[in-house]
């Protein structure tokens, strides 16, 4: 039985696990953006405090992903449900590129633009929302794109703690020593990553001004 035949035979499960994977990635990214963007802005406003945030998110990033899932298993509220735990781990993982790019994007705004804006009497709020964030959006979206691609890959590990997703195929294939089963998980995950990269890349290009 070829890989295509295997796909065909198991298509219902491939779809189901792909959807589950999308759900894990989607929720995690939504959380990561809604936490990472404000944190990134905070880093530009309170540099001293910001160093701690950047440091902490870098440390999280250095923990091997499998270990991060393992660590969180022992925490009380998270350990109860695998989906909850997986989403927490994936969110933590996605934070760093978003925080870093938000910070880099805002600090990368031409200083003369910022000086003119302040000199003309823009409040900090107006400066942020009318000038800095729109100008930083390209860089911020690049961070979101990187984070999304990473998350799609790392989310396959969620299956190891029983949170489902395309990792189910991969771990099953490993146990069965059957490449077709591994590929049934790996190929849809790779396609998903490529598609996300392409779509977010197109969005990013709409924010080029210079």
């Amino acid at each position: 039985m070829s890989i295509l035949q295997f796909f065909w035979k198991n298509q219902a499960q491939v779809y189901a696990l792909t959807l589950e994977h999308l759900w894990l990635v989607g929720v995690s990214m939504l959380l990561a953006v809604s936490i990472g963007l404000p944190l990134g802005i905070l880093v530009t406003r309170r540099p001293a405090f910001g160093k701690a945030i950047l440091g902490a998110s870098t440390i999280v990033q250095t923990v091997p992903s499998l270990a991060l899932f393992g660590f969180l298993l022992s925490s009380p509220w998270l350990g109860e449900r695998a989906g909850r735990l997986a989403i927490t781990a994936l969110t933590l993982y996605a934070l760093l590129p978003i925080i870093q790019n938000t910070y880099a994007g805002i600090t990368g705004v031409d200083p003369s633009v910022r000086e003119a804006a302040r000199g003309m009497g823009m409040t900090d709020f107006q400066l942020l929302f009318q000038v800095e964030l729109p100008l930083a959006m390209g860089v911020i979206l690049a961070g979101v794109r990187v984070a999304t691609v990473i998350t799609i890959g790392v989310a396959t590990i969620a299956a190891a703690i029983g949170a489902g997703g395309l990792g189910e195929f991969i771990f099953r294939g490993l146990a069965m020593v059957d490449n077709r089963v591994i590929l049934a998980g790996a190929i849809p995950a790779a396609l998903m990553a490529l598609l996300a990269d392409f779509l977010l890349g197109r969005l990013e290009r709409r924010f080029r001004y210079a």
């Binding site: 031409d110 003119a116 804006a117 003309m120 009497g121 823009m122 009318q130 001004y209």
Partner: protein
């Protein structure tokens, strides 16, 4: 009110030093009168930009006080202060994500003008700085030449009709021909507008062209304040050095 009514800006014993402790400005006492163009002349690092930024509170004095319209700049809301002061810088600092129209109309919009009134004002200002409104209003800054950008920068500073204009080497980055053109137009413009202007430059010719008075700064200290005629006659080694550097005739000429 403590001061004469025609004084718009007053520096009283103003010093400014960086957080590192390095002083940039020492004990500055200076008055700017209504309707005049005071040129701050000095070399790089002389403290002229620092002086300018103390007026719209982009910097705050570490000692002394700066008064604008009789009120200390540190006393009150900096946003309100800045909205009444036009600000033009060498790098222009146009917002690359805004069209020319939105750039020029920014302060009026922040001040809550109606869209109609703001648009009419933008048209008027673009025409004033020599840019055809129909042709330029919808363009983005990247689609403009250096000279056109600075024209937009001047229009933007004038948008909400501020009584006071601060200009930091506005024409310094332009090529000589464009600069000469804009300088001449600007000279006509300031005669028409009757604004109080503080103008920073290191260019002696430009200083003598616009100034009602020249304030010469050197190493963070005010050397003196002179009318252009006085400036040509004064016997001061720093002044003499300027004339040598610019190879300009020191004898007073009429009309300038």
């Amino acid at each position: 009110m403590v001061q004469e009514p025609d004084v718009v800006i007053e520096f009283r014993e103003v010093s400014y030093r960086l957080d590192s402790g390095r002083p940039l400005l020492y004990d500055l006492n200076l008055q700017v009168r209504r309707g005049e163009t005071l040129v701050l002349l000095g070399r790089s690092g002389s403290g002229k930009t620092t002086t300018l930024k103390l007026i719209n509170r982009l910097l705050e004095p570490t000692q002394g006080q700066v008064f604008v319209e009789g009120r200390a700049t540190t006393d009150g809301d900096p946003i309100r202060l800045r909205r009444r002061i036009g600000y033009v810088i060498q790098e222009v600092g146009l917002f690359p994500n805004f069209t020319v129209e939105r750039n020029v109309g920014l302060v009026p919009r922040l001040e809550g003008w109606s869209a109609e009134r703001a648009r009419a004002r933008v048209q008027e200002l673009l025409a004033l700085v020599g840019l055809e409104p129909e042709q330029f209003a919808t363009r983005y800054p990247r689609e403009l030449s250096g000279g056109q950008r600075q024209r937009v920068g001047v229009a933007r500073a004038l948008a909400a009709d501020p009584p006071l204009l601060l200009m930091d080497e506005p024409f310094g980055a332009l090529d000589p021909l464009t600069r000469a053109e804009i300088q001449q137009e600007f000279q006509r413009l300031i005669q028409r507008l009757q604004k109080t202007i503080v103008f920073v430059t290191h260019d002696l010719r430009e200083a003598l062209m616009f100034a009602t008075r020249v304030a010469l700064l050197e190493g963070g200290r005010l050397v003196g304040v002179y009318t252009p005629e006085e400036f040509r006659r004064v016997s001061n080694p720093i002044v003499a050095a300027y004339f040598r550097a610019f190879e300009t005739d020191r004898t007073p000429r009429g009309g300038e």
